[in-house]
Amino acid sequence: MSEMTYRDAINLALKEEMRRDTNVVTYGEDVALYEGAFKVTRGLLSEFGELRVRDCPISENTIIGVAVGAAMGGIRPVAELMTVNFALLAMDQIVNHMTKVRYMFGGQTKVPMVIRMPGGGGSQLGAQHSQSLESYFMHCPGMLVAYPATPADAKGLLKSSIRDDNPVIFLEHELLYNSKGEVPEDPEFLVPFGKAAVMRQGEQATLVGYGRMAILALQAAQQLEKEGISCEVVDLRTLAPLDMETVIASVLKTGRAMVIEECWKSAGLGGDIASRIYEGCFDSLLAPVRRISGLDVPMPYSRKIEKLCIPQLEGIVQGVRDLFNESY
């Protein structure tokens, strides 16, 4: 184990997989010479050369289309979209092509590709650069969706993503890039898809999160412990496949559940997870399932009001208290 940042863990995963398999290539806007807008691809061009690490034009839809074709043609592209917001320019290739070719061609091809996308809000980047679009990807069958919360998961999940024969959306939270954690050095360390992590055991309430929301859930649980409330924290790790088994087992034990989502509440993934909790735990619930969500507004710039729009630690803590204070 060694301590490293989320950014460096992703960087290491890329390097290890590119060393292991010469068919792994990476490209995107400013990925090579500039070493990434968030410096995630630092050192890749110098180690692997310009045939395997390439800059490309600002053409998001074609970035993804090229990856689909390249993957069908036998290489394993890892495409970077500079931020998740720009994925909206590529939704045609993501939804109409990447997730469809295997199915509509009767299983005669596969698309082993990864799209890395930094995203999330909280850096005062305004309405067009602060979105959390995870529910969009989760909605469509045919792709896997990973959203790591910790450096170790970032490394292990990215390595699994690159080795997987399915297309993978790999979401990275911009505010987590500098977060630190212990990361296994073993180049065969992999984190599987569809396995949520119980980050913390607890007895009275289950907090379900992913990405940065899992980190906030963990902090809330630590604070609530001081008030005598014992919370279990489930980090989903991958949104597709979704490990409801772990969530339901936890809620059956605790009887209370809160889902924390950074995305907008309307048609957000929290509603889907809450409904599945009701289906699986109805008789065991001691309180209605709560959702803490991003506000249904375009993100404002000003720091004073931006934070109103993103789930905050205090809001989560209060939300958990309410699970106990209200009488049902």
């Binding site: 045939l51 839809n61 074609t62 043609g73 092509h97 045919g142 997987d164 399915n166």
Partner: protein, 325 residues
């Protein structure tokens, strides 16, 4: 003096061109009939009139080259070597179809023939072609990727992004625009500020030419020359095949936006008589020989319909297959 076809191709190859065009024509006419009977449903876009493009281009490529098409793809697949039985079964939605009945008319695919599929989002296959070409270059496979699309695709962003990209990365893509003059009902000059489509590639420094898409021999010569050029230089090239669809955009389109005189002019340039006339004039084939080929093609298509009719439907469990590896 008229071009002597024997100087260009063997008699066998020339008769092969004729046979492939007739097979495609009979196949498409049979599709229309099966559609009217309700055996084929959904969208159905027929290739009737454009046969010279698929036949000539395919002959100008090597078997290892990739071919990628759009949604008017039956003839492209059949000419590449796909079994007409399986293509017809796919259109019928049967389990024996080329894609197990899960793709339908617009989504044929035959990787063993390097036929990399039919795609139904206008312009959507162009970046995929670019990616295929990149993969083949990285893997040192010495392939050209031939990407077919219609005139409508040329107004999509993906088209322009891909041409720029293919030239920038020096990728072996042969872009082939089948200009049949209509994006559904919108004539090309009403959609493209520059209606001479081959001239639109100059902004990407990609050489281009316009070819008579009603002449299989011309299409063959142009494609062969272009494919060799692309293969040698690892540099994209663009062909505008000027052609015409005799039917509407799809089965639901009576094509009222075209005058009958326009259609008549193009019908007089029908690629099949266009070739058979020369085969007869130059003593390459007799009338009886051509009639024999016609009969063989008709029988082949009847066999495909029979195969499709008698084939089983997909199992219900098939709905969950092939989403993930």
């Amino acid at each position: 003096m008229a071009e002597m076809l024997r100087d260009l191709l063997s008699e066998e190859e020339l008769l092969g061109f004729y046979e492939q065009m007739v097979l495609c024509r009979e196949f498409e006419e049979s599709c229309a009939e099966q559609y009217s009977k309700g055996h084929i449903t959904g969208f159905l876009h027929l290739y009737t009139g454009q046969e010279a493009v698929a036949v000539g281009c395919t002959a100008g490529l090597l078997p290892r080259d990739y071919v990628i098409s759009a949604y008017r793809d039956h003839a492209q697949a059949i000419v590449r070597g796909a079994d007409p039985n399986k293509v017809m079964a796919e259109l019928f939605g049967k389990a024996t179809g080329l894609c197990k009945g899960k793709g339908g008319s617009m989504h044929l695919f035959a990787p063993e023939l390097n036929f990399m599929g039919g795609y139904a989002i206008v312009g959507g296959n162009v970046p995929i072609a670019t990616g295929l070409a990149w993969a083949s270059q990285l893997l040192e496979e010495d392939r050209v990727t031939a990407c077919f699309f219609g005139d409508g695709s040329m107004n999509q962003g993906t088209f322009h992004e891909s041409l720029n990209w293919a030239r920038l990365w020096e990728l072996p893509v042969l872009f082939i625009c089948e200009n049949n003059f209509y994006g559904i009902g919108t004539e090309v000059h009403r959609a493209s500020a520059q209606a001479a489509l081959h001239r639109r590639t100059c902004g990407y420094d990609i050489p281009s030419e316009k070819v008579d898409g009603m002449d299989a021999i011309a299409m063959y010569q142009a494609t062969k020359r272009a494919a060799e050029w692309v293969r040698e230089r690892q540099h994209p090239y663009f062909i505008e095949a000027v052609t015409y669809r005799f039917r509407g955009h799809s089965m639901s389109d009576p094509a009222k936006y075209r005058s009958s005189s326009e259609t008549e002019i193009w019908r007089s340039r029908d690629p099949i008589p266009n070739l058979s006339r020369r085969l007869l004039e130059q003593g390459i084939a007799t009338k009886e020989q051509l009639e024999e080929i016609d009969k063989r093609c008709l029988a082949r298509v009847e066999d495909a319909v029979r195969f499709a009719s008698e084939s089983p439907w997909p199992e219900d469990s098939e709905v969950w297959e092939d989403i993930y590896v």
